[in-house]
Amino acid sequence: MIGRLDLIDTSKDIALPPEGNMGTWRMAGRLAAFRPGLWLVDAALWGLVWSLPVASGLVIKAVFDHLTGAAPAGLGLGGLLAVLVGIGAARILAILGGILVNVDFIELISALMRLNLLSYVLDQPGAKAMTESSGKAVSRFRDDVDDLRFATEWTVDLAGMAIGGVVSLVMLLRIEPRMTVVVFAPLILIVFLVHVLKTRLERYRLASRKATSRVTGFLGDVYGGILAVKAATAEEPVLGHFQMLNETRRQAALKDTLLTALLNTLFGSAQSIGTGLILLLSASLLRAGSFTVGDLALFILLLTRVTDIMFAVGNMLAWHKQAGVSRDRLRALMGGAPAASVVAHRPLDLTRPQRVPPPPALVEGDRLRQLQVQGLGYTHAGSGHGVRGIDLTVRAGEFVVVTGRVGSGKTTLLRALLGLLPAQEGRLMWNGRPVADAGAFMVPPRAAYTAQAPRLFSATLRENLLMGRPDSDDAVMNAIRLAVLDEDLGRLESGLDTVVGPRGVKLSGGQLQRAAAARMFVRRPQLLVFDDLSSALDIETEARLWDGIFGSGDIGSGSGGTGSGGTGDAAPTPPKPSGDDLIIDQVAQILAAAEGPERPACLVVSHRRPALLRADRILLLKDGRMEDTGTLAELLERSAEMRRLWAGGGVEG
């Protein structure tokens, strides 16, 4: 059955480098050492919680011995009962304190691990940060972090239990050493048995965990693509698949349960066997009077205590095995990084609001004079597609267009240049100085990027645009005007404070793209990089067109009479620049005014005529290679590919 599970598992198991591994105990130790004081207080309090019952047991023994007259107590029965009540009160206080300290401790270490994971992911090249779907990754952040947290939390109990267990054993050995040994020997045997069984338990846990992450991953995909599911009325087949995944998970969980129940029975039986042995052995001793009824009561009580403790320790061992599975999966999420980086210490304070560090200021060397790209290349591992041997120069104020068919590598080129894909080949030089880490360097205030399908997040529009920057609303409004989003803003219920939905879905596609453009503008970068801005500009074009036809706009009234046939040649170009040109100029002018004499440079993926016409230089890609580069006129003359794109970029008829 396990084999079948493995067969249908499509998630890639990353082979982890053996070096840099770390036992889960050591990881728990590292986490405990994150706040050693907190851990100690936590352990001390739970130690009390675990060992105070031993004191209660002694009082109860004294009560029996007092009643039978074996050892009359000086305190009298009333005194003994008062002590019993006092011990209960102390235990309650220890529990309340223990919970407060424990929640603080576990939330700190959980946040620490998640922070380490999140920082790692965000330090990766952005377009290739994840090896699995975000839905699956969330179950790592949730369940696997929880497992490691549990493994650490248990160390607190372990300390307390060790105290309780040792005290109990010493007590029993002093009363009747032979019986103690005979009764507790089977327990040790059982701990050993658990050790043997736990490797199997680990396998079942892994299968069960995999089955769970397939369920959650699938749910994430379905709810992420809900519109497609609805449009295809595919609810029933989707449900069928979901039920199949759930069934697999049930079977995996049952195997896990079966083994766990078996372990529980082993432990429980140990307790029953122990009590039976106590009875058998004590019969003659009781008769002889060397063993009192109080001793018997204490033996039975503490046996229960000690088996509980051993049971808990056994569970803990199982948790640690499970934590081993989780550790490996977290390492895989971190690209095989050493286990130590999952639990690395870093400043962390959950008691006050976080401040986002101010954005880096533009220093003189950052001011773009010239960006040179030499021999840039990137090949996608799976498909073998990509780009190779790209040379490109962008100077201050220039407008450079990358064009080519779909699949020619335009987006890959931008991503590689911005360090959003891991560096493979080529050199990047900013003002003649080589850029070592493009991903870290090609960010605001030097460069900023708007992807083909940009994402916004669940937050206010203001926060989405600023993402922690301290800019004023004036600056934000400025960026919004630049991105032609101001009219839309007026229609939003609470302006900049409007909460745009998850991934920005409450905005229309065009609004989303223009919001993303505004997000880029507000950073006032030296180099603006757009992956296909044309769809954002279409809105502007559309508005002008419709105004011309339906409203009183000057375009419409000016050209109303000239239209004749539908499919003939284009009518004479109006004297005004087109909408596309307008916005590009506008962007350039306003940004230039804001930043000083130099205009920002633009690097744009587009195949639209307005962009091509405006370009200072065009880079033509074909099948991942540079087909040609030059001005539009040069390329149209030299390149058949360019002529074909140009013909398509205009009007079909």
């Binding site: 109860i60 009560v63 019993l84 009160a89 235990r91 529990i95 919970i99 946040a111 922070l115 992911v121 965000l122 330090d123 952005g126 377009a127 940060a129 975000s134 959650t216 749910l219 994430g220 995909d221 992420g224 693509g225 519109l227 497609a228 609805k230 087949p237 069928g240 698949h241 759930n246 969980a253 349960t257 529980n264 029953s272 009875l279 003659s284 009781l286 009824v293 954005p359 799976g382 779909v406 911005l418 900023a448 994402r455 993402m467 998850p502 229309s508 596609g509 950073r523 044309s534 074009t541 239209g563 046939g565 499919t567 040649d569 009518a571 195949h607 794109l645 398509g648 205009g650 009007v651």
Partner: protein, 598 residues
């Protein structure tokens, strides 16, 4: 929020549990037998201890004493075995029942409108459909049964205590009553706090999910520190709520300890008094102590179970809430739509979302089977509304709307939707193979059909270029596909379903000419033999239409045969065409049909 769930809330929760447990009758019966068997053993075994102690104090032969000890041992082992079997059966039952609940919850949420889904991150949905159900799975099987068995143990112990001395029975009956009521009260204290903890957890992981899906934007804009700071803010919220819930939640545990310390004192006080009065033996004192300790186990377990229930209570409340979100049900007839291309007759259609503010008014369209209607108009002009009405997400207020000769409200709803193919501008890709992306997990669609559909659409070479063919895994979201490829994928999805009416919101942008040509060919195939409504963004597409409808503010500004409109140089359409041709980009509009299902 009230600390106690209201009566209707509790009724809804209980009836929901009953619904999911009912089909598991046999497992439930086995579980009952196993659980109650252990109760009997539990109550009988301590009597052996009394016999042993009194026998040892008195003159029972050693052999008899040993026999008592061995009997004790065997019965105790039997009890443990029954417990293990119960755990297994209970777990099986729980998974079966909750899996059905997960499926129903998913089915229900899939039916909810896009207005609901737009407010949810996928991460939050995972938490609500899987996380919450897992959290309440403890309620599904053994918890209630364990509660029952613990109640039986408690009752049994009280009776056995009363058998020794009626005052003992009475005193402990009062004790159990006080303990029971007190702990019940304690259990409800933390429910609202745990609900908030679960909400904060859903927030936290929803936050993480969308950030993990948006690493490209975060990296390229240097917003890493912002994400980390906001993550820590959410973690801090979670910690604060967890502390509060932890403290409130400990009320049960702490209360149990307080009560049982008092209970022990009571037991010893009373049995010492009875012992000194000569009414009972030492063995009976031990028996009383042991039985009162026996009360601890069920009540401690009960308190743990109540804690589980209280944790689950929060989740349960959220699950019931989710189930209770109304699915907009509209009356539907049972009429099937004819096969083949569907004619569309709209006559004097009126519709408004808000009374007095018509979204569409006086609209009439007569589209013969196989004809294509070009729909033009700016954002908010009613194009999307018309698509929504056709998909029957809303009902018209006046006039009539017939598809294939069947009035929409008389058609079978799911059947109607299956006969309409919808291609949106924004194509959503599932994180699954190309095959599942095309057939949506419908195993009845064979690979042959998929291959045939793709080659009909002229996409055979596209498929051949995929590294693993139909098995190629796509990433959710953009799926590693270009916008053009994504549209082609959407075409293939629709093509496979063979609808009689295709509503196509053309991709307005991002297509290079080669892809555009491929799409043009595919659109030809898609519309061949089908009726089409095209929200056109390209002049080339408009040229394919038989009829044109221009909407403005919900009214038809212009409608008619395309060729005759074109011939009339004063028509809006011909002026639009002329202008469009002037304009080099050739774009007409970019209103995403994404809004269709909103």
């Amino acid at each position: 929020m009230a600390p106690e769930p209201s009566a209707p809330e509790r009724r809804a929760a209980l009836s929901m549990l009953a619904t999911y447990l009912r089909p598991e009758g046999r497992r439930l019966a086995a579980l009952v037998v196993l659980t109650f068997g252990t109760v009997g053993l539990d109550l009988y075994v301590p009597q052996l201890l009394r016999r042993f102690i009194d026998g040892a104090q008195g003159q029972l032969p050693l052999a008899d004493l040993s026999r008592v000890a061995v009997t004790f041992l065997l019965l105790a082992l039997l009890k443990k075995t029954a417990e293990a079997a119960g755990a297994y059966v209970g777990q099986d039952l729980r998974w079966r029942a909750t899996n059905r609940m997960r499926a129903d919850l998913t089915r229900h949420t899939l039916r909810l409108g896009m207005d609901f889904h737009h407010g949810q991150t996928p991460g939050k949905m995972i938490e609500r459909v899987d996380g919450d159900v897992t959290a309440l799975s403890n309620l599904m099987s053994d918890t209630f049964l364990k509660v029952a068995s613990n109640v039986l143990v408690t009752g049994g112990v009280l009776i056995l205590l009363a058998r020794e001395d009626w005052r003992l029975g009475a005193a402990f009956a009062v004790f159990v009553l006080v303990a029971g009521l007190g702990l019940r009260r304690a259990a409800s204290i933390a429910v609202p706090a745990w609900t908030r903890v679960r909400e904060a957890s859903a927030e936290l992981f929803g936050f993480l999910e969308e950030k993990l899906a948006g690493t490209e934007d975060i990296r390229a804009l240097g917003a890493r520190d912002w994400v980390l700071a906001r993550f820590l803010d959410r973690s801090a919220d979670y910690r604060r709520l967890h502390r509060r819930a932890g403290m409130l939640g400990s009320a049960v545990w702490v209360g149990t300890i307080a009560l049982f310390t008092m209970g022990n004192a009571l037991a010893f006080g009373m049995s010492a008094w009875l012992f000194t009065a000569g009414g009972i033996t030492v063995g009976t004192v031990y028996l009383i102590f042991h039985y009162t300790e026996k009360l601890r186990e069920p009540i401690e377990q009960l308190s743990h179970q109540l804690e589980e229930i209280q944790r689950a209570g929060g989740a349960m409340k959220r699950v019931v809430e989710l189930f209770q979100l109304p699915v907009r049900q509209r009356p539907e007839g049972g009429l099937p739509l004819p096969s083949g291309a569907l004619g569309l007759q709209i006559h004097d259609l009126c519709f408004s979302y808000v009374p007095e503010r018509p979204a569409l008014a006086g609209l009439s369209v007569h589209l013969r089977p196989g004809e294509v209607l070009g729909l033009l108009g700016r954002t908010g002009s009613g194009k999307t509304t018309l698509s929504r009405l056709l998909f029957r997400l809303y009902d018209i207020d006046g006039g009539s709307m017939k598809l294939g000769g069947v009035e929409l409200r008389e058609a079978h709803l799911q059947g109607l939707r299956q006969r309409i193919g919808l291609v949106t501008q924004d194509v959503q890709v599932l994180g699954a193979s190309v095959r599942e992306n095309l057939r949506f997990f419908d195993p009845t669609i064979s690979d042959e059909r998929i291959h045939a559909a793709l080659s009909d659409l002229g996409l055979a070479d596209w498929l051949a270029a995929l590294p693993q063919g139909l098995d190629t895994e796509l990433e959710a979201g953009a799926g590693g596909l270009s916008a053009g490829e994504a549209q082609l994928l959407a075409f293939a999805r629709v093509f496979l379903r063979d609808p009689g009416l295709v509503i196509l919101d053309e991709a307005s942008a991002r297509l290079d000419p080669a892809t555009e040509q491929r799409i043009e060919r595919a659109v030809d195939q898609l519309l061949a033999g089908r009726t089409g409504i095209v929200i056109a963004h390209r002049l080339g597409t408009v040229a394919r239409c038989d009829q044109i409808l221009i909407l403005e503010d919900g009214r038809q500004l212009e409608a008619g045969e395309r060729l005759s409109l074109l011939a009339d140089s004063n028509s809006r359409f011909s002026r639009l065409m002329a202008l469009g041709h002037e304009h080099s980009s050739g774009g007409l509009s970019a209103d995403p049909l994404l809004e269709v299902l909103a």
